[in-house]
Symmetry: none
Subunit: 451 residues, 2 copies
């Protein structure tokens, strides 16, 4: 849209398996990310079926819209592989494809190294429009093609990622006229948990203006709210501005922001445990082991994770975590006293410094739930050793959604509660989904210190 000399790319994926929804196109995101690293903006991704006219139309349209068109798929030897023919229709209309002797020799040789004669149908893979050049495929039979339509450079690559990726990097990129790397496009992200999307946006304010550089956008995935930042400019300046923007977002989202890029909440919480020299234990009912799985997903977690219990049945809550049966009878298994007892017992039995306990109602929906404990009700307790004393915080949540969603949010909220504690945040940092009693004198269920 601007007059800046940014190179614009379009991606075209070809295949019935894609338009029928049987396969997911992972080539386009991979190529888009590769291009972004080289300051090339992908303005459009398009997918069409194994249909010669549809491919030709897409090539013609996209070549008017972009400086670089990268096509994947449709270069195989079978009848439904039509990319070569469609490229011929657009680049050399009225002219037949020509046979590339050199490519034919390469394909024949490849079959011979596998101890086989080349099947007749593979001849087709040596055909090309006369204005395009073949790109060698070192990982399969389908060669790629490179050429030009007007000002648009066109590259056609095989669909299998194992063939496409090395061909793109090693064979295609070196033959393209790419923008001098003056202006680069650098991307990064900051993640937070516990604040709603709108609140997160409000805290960023004018940082989200669409004309800003670096550009900031917000996306949400399984309750993780992410700011995605894109900085365009000369390398040094873009690097500095990207860093400044990411740091500014982290600052504005405190204490909810837990990391950047591929950092998970369990990773960043684990790093705080390691730094503090503290150890963790868990006791999970409705999550069934999910919290432990997230902790153990992090390589090296054995440095700080002792392990835990999954007292899914009430009997196991009593026998393994010493939850008094009277608590369960009087208050129910999903209650503040039971969460507290689970966490305190896990702390004592494991010898860990911190213990998280989760008990909740994740579904399926039932008719016999008491009105004060709807589906999604979860109590999360954090028991901690601090100096010579112990301390337990219990929070009460109502998570919306189905069985998987409630449990996913519960496991993440538990990690965030621990992270807040390791950062010495106050106990009452608001968390989205937290149950807020409308009763002005609610029963005291928050926290209390013990010795």
């Amino acid at each position: 849209m601007s007059g800046a000399p940014t190179m614009r790319a379009a991606l075209l994926s070809i295949g019935d398996e894609l338009t029928l929804g049987q396969n997911i196109d992972t080539n386009s995101p991979w190529i888009a990310a590769q291009l972004a690293e080289r300051s090339i903006i992908t303005v459009e991704q398009r997918t069409v079926a194994d249909d010669r006219a549809a491919i030709a139309t897409a090539v013609a349209e996209l070549s008017l819209r972009a400086d670089l068109l990268i096509i994947t798929g449709g270069l195989g030897p079978t009848e439904d592989d039509l990319t070569r023919e469609a490229l011929g229709d657009v680049l050399t209309p009225g002219q037949a494809l020509i046979l590339d002797d050199e490519v034919l020799r390469q394909i024949t040789a490849l079959f011979r190294t596998r101890g086989r004669d080349m099947p007749q149908m593979n001849c087709k893979q040596a055909m090309r429009p006369c204005t395009m050049k073949a790109i060698r495929n070192f990982n399969g039979t389908a060669p790629g093609l490179i050429g030009r339509l007007g000002v648009c450079q066109i590259v056609s690559l095989p669909g299998p990622p194992r063939e496409m990726q090395p061909m793109f990097i090693e064979q295609a990129l070196p033959h393209l006229a790419l923008p001098p790397v003056k202006d680069v496009v650098l991307a990064g992200s900051v993640h937070q948990l516990g604040m709603g999307e709108s609140d997160a946006a409000q805290r960023l304010g004018v940082m989200m203006h669409r004309s800003r550089n670096p550009l900031v956008g917000i996306t949400v995935s399984d309750a993780i709210v992410s700011a995605r930042v894109r900085a365009t400019g000369v390398y040094d300046r873009a690097t500095r501005e990207l860093e400044e923007t990411l740091a500014e977002i982290e600052q504005r989202w405190q204490p909810y922001s837990f990391g950047r890029d591929i950092t998970t909440l369990a990773q960043s919480t684990g790093a705080l445990l390691r730094r503090a020299g503290r150890t963790l234990a868990t006791a999970e009912s409705c999550t069934g082991g999910w919290l432990g799985k997230l902790v153990v997903d992090v390589p090296g977690s054995s440095d700080y994770h002792r392990g835990g219990w999954v007292p899914y049945s009430n009997a196991m809550k009593s026998s393994q975590l010493k939850v008094p049966a009277s608590f369960i009878e009087r208050c129910g298994a999903v209650s503040e006293p039971v969460a507290r007892a689970m966490a305190e017992s896990a702390l004592a039995q494991s010898g860990a410094d911190d213990a998280l306990a989760i008990t909740g109602i994740a579904g399926p929906p039932r008719d016999d739930l008491p009105s004060e404990k709807p589906l999604g009700t979860v109590f999360i307790a954090l028991a901690r050793k601090r100096g010579g004393s112990a301390y337990t915080l219990v929070r009460h949540f109502i998570f919306p959604g189905d069985r998987l969603t409630v449990r996913d949010r519960a496991a993440k909220a538990a990690l965030q509660m621990l992270r807040f504690a390791l950062l010495d945040q106050p106990d009452d940092v608001p968390l989205l989904w937290e149950f807020v009693a409308l009763d002005p004198n609610p029963p005291a269920i928050r926290s209390h210190a013990r010795t």
Copy 2:
């Protein structure tokens, strides 16, 4: 291309995170598959950035090319959510968006049930072009939109799959003019775990010919090998032929085939536990709770799951699961005796009828691993009560892959071991990844009966 009155759809996905390659678009394949089941052909999928002009151009072009345009993304409350505005530019050029009072009430009410006031910026989500109607969102704040441009029906849905999918099925489809269904395309799948892809294909033989109807293909995802079957024809015949093909595949893949369509291995194993009136307990080290999570993912699993332990540290293995410290010293924590002791202790302490235990080396790679226990070494034990006696089977695996892959395979292999036992299969049904000793007189580590 043919003269048949096939309905043609186009899909448009919107988001910088997609054109930058930061996220993979899973919405388009999901929608395309839904449409295919309803005899609607997707002729094009397109992805553009959060750019009002680019969105408007795509909407205008695609509406000329398709009878149905389905848009996902760009309906959030923040400044980079521009789908509503772009739809207005194309459908009602020159006219401002209008505020839908009903929708505003719904969003306000949704925030109120969460105990919060609606942030000002969410007002934006109640705006729409005056010629479109809002579609209610029961799983989030962003309503969808439905309308028409020329002969093309247009549906705009929120991007998060958890909101998009139910809205598409429950709110959008019933309001669309869809083609009468004469020839239907019915799809189904059969899943197995424990046999390699080529072995699975060999067992199917000529059933995999590309000209067959129903058509059978094989895909693999996270070690689950699936036969995907597509039957085309008039409804009654296609239904019968689909069923016959699925049943035939299940038969040929026995005892590895565990279910169809969305059935998980944990579901089908859980159903066998329920039918047998048996209960389960787990003890997990390297999986850290993943096995328990899979079991608890199944609604109603509290009927048969007692819960378990995650003795991640050696100290927890000894203190909670009574694994003799001498076993750990002599054989290591990842060994047949430790797996056996964990399972037998879990069985005894929980009172369950079946207990699964997992101990293994999942990574990260280390230099100090003994050659007989490479990365990926996992011992899985199944302890069972049978009549008045107890019985323990231990199997030794070497799973290839990284930390997540090894642990994923281990949790699934454990479930398949239990499933085989519940089906009274012999103890030595081969499982892919099982360690086979080359020593002709290997130490006896398989199974033994005890009383």
